[in-house]
Amino acid sequence: MFAATLPSLRRNPLAMMLVIGSAWLLFTSATQAHTIAGNDANFVQDIDGPAILPFIYLGAKHMVTGYDHLLFLFGVVFFLYRPVHVVQYVTLFAVGHSITLLTGVLANLQVNAFLIDAIIGLSIVYKACENMGGFARLGRLRPNPQAAVFVFGLFHGLGLATKLQAFELSANGLITNIISFNIGVELGQILALTFVFIALSLWRTSGSYLRHAFVTNAVLMCGGFLLAGYQITAYLTTPVY
C-alpha cells in the first residue's frame, strides 16, 4: 500500500509535506518540544560524573524534537540544491552554536531563556525574509548569508546552553557531558536535515517548488513570528523570583 501511495505523494508535494509534517508532530508532541522535561529532567539533575551516551541522546533528542531549530534549518536549506552547500552552511551553523553552547555553560553565562528563544524565532523570520528575496535589492548592503547563519548559530547555541543551565549540573564530568550533549545536537541535526533535504529534493522535482517558494517562506516567517510572540509573552508573564 505504501509503495502505491509513494508515487502519488511525489506528484503532490503538499500532501507529502503534510505526511512528513504530521509524522514530526506525532514524534514531538509526546515530548514537550522545547525544554528538557519529565524523566529526562530528573535524570540530568541526578547525574554526577561523566555520562557520554545519555547526554548524546539528550542532545540529539533536543534537536530532533525542537521545532524552532528545525524551522530555521528548513529555511537555511530551502534554496541549497547541492549537498556541498548544505554541509557548508550547516557547518557554519554548528560551529556557531557549539561556541556559545560550550562557553555559555562553562562560563555560566546567565541569559534569559525566553529572550534567547524569541531571538531564535526572529532568526526564522530573518531566514524566511532572505528566502523571499527581501534582501536582494539591498545591493552591497545585503547581509552575507554565511555570516548570518553563523551569527544566528551563536544565538541558537545560547538557547541550548540555557536549557542545560536550567539544571543544577554537577561539576563532576561537566565538560565531558556538555561535549557529549553537543555531539548529540550535531547528530540530531544531521538526522533532521536528512529528512528535510530528502523532502525538499522530492518537492523540487515538481514544478510547484519555485512557484510556491514565496508563499512557503511567508508561512515559515509567520511561524517565526508566532514563536517569537510566544516567547515574548512567556517572558512578560513569568514572574522573576
Binding site: 534554496f79 528566502n131 534582501f135 536582494a136 508561512v219 516567517m221
Partner: protein, 193 residues
C-alpha cells in the same frame, strides 16, 4: 563567495509583494498568538476567544506549583512491634493523583517494600513496587499513579524485637492493616469535626 541560497535577483519579488507577504505573515502570527496561543498557554484572553473556544481550561490545567483539592487531608500515626521474623503490611486508600507525605523510623533494620495494588485488580501481577530495600527509616512524598491501596510491607529478619513508627499526612480515606494472615480496615478521623 557566491551565495547559493538566494533567489535569482531577476525574479526577486516586487517591493509591494514583499511588504504584503511580510505583513500577512505578521498579522496571521499575531492573530493566532492573541486568539489561540495566549489563552491556551498563559490564560490571557484579551478578545474572549479562549473562552469561546474552550481553550482557557488548557492554561488552568497546566502544572503550577500549587495543586488544590476539594477536601481536607487526614493524618495518621501508627506503631508496630515486630518480633523476630514477623512482618506487617500497612496501606492507605488513595485515589488517582492524591498525594501524601510520610516518615517512618524503626529501632532496627527492616526489610521493606513500598508498593501499591490497583483497586479491583486482584493478584501479584498487578502490584506495582516503588522501593525495596533494607533500612531503619524512609521519608518521602508519594503521588498515587492509580486508585487503590498504597503502602509498605515491613519484615523483621533480625533476632531482636523492632519497634516501627510511621507518621503520615495525606488525602487518603483510611488505611488497611495486613497482619498474621488477616486484614482489617481502619477509618481515620477527619481533621475538622
Amino acid at each position: 563567495m557566491q551565495a547559493p541560497n538566494e533567489r535569482d535577483r531577476t525574479d526577486a519579488p516586487s517591493a509591494r509583494q514583499l511588504i504584503i507577504g511580510t505583513a500577512a505573515a505578521l498579522v496571521v502570527a499575531l492573530l493566532v498568538l492573541v486568539t489561540v496561543v495566549m489563552p491556551a498557554e498563559f490564560g490571557i484572553d484579551p478578545l474572549g476567544t479562549g473562552q469561546a473556544l474552550g481553550l482557557l481550561e488548557l492554561a488552568d490545567a497546566s502544572e503550577g506549583p500549587l495543586e488544590t483539592v476539594p477536601t481536607a487531608h487526614k493524618h495518621d500515626y501508627v506503631e508496630f512491634i515486630l518480633e523476630p521474623f514477623q512482618s506487617v503490611e500497612y496501606k492507605y486508600h488513595l485515589a488517582l493523583n492524591s498525594s501524601m507525605v510520610y516518615s517512618w523510623e524503626a529501632t532496627g533494620e527492616l526489610v521493606y517494600d513500598m508498593h501499591a495494588d490497583p483497586e479491583g485488580m486482584e493478584g501479584e501481577e498487578f502490584v506495582e513496587s516503588f522501593e525495596q530495600g533494607t533500612g531503619t527509616s524512609s521519608y518521602g512524598t508519594y503521588h498515587a499513579p492509580f486508585t487503590g491501596i498504597h503502602g509498605w510491607f515491613w519484615e523483621n529478619r533480625t533476632f531482636e524485637e523492632i519497634v516501627l513508627r510511621l507518621h503520615s499526612a495525606g488525602f487518603y480515606e483510611g488505611s488497611v492493616v495486613f497482619r498474621d494472615g488477616g486484614s482489617y480496615e481502619q477509618a481515620l478521623s477527619p481533621l475538622f469535626e
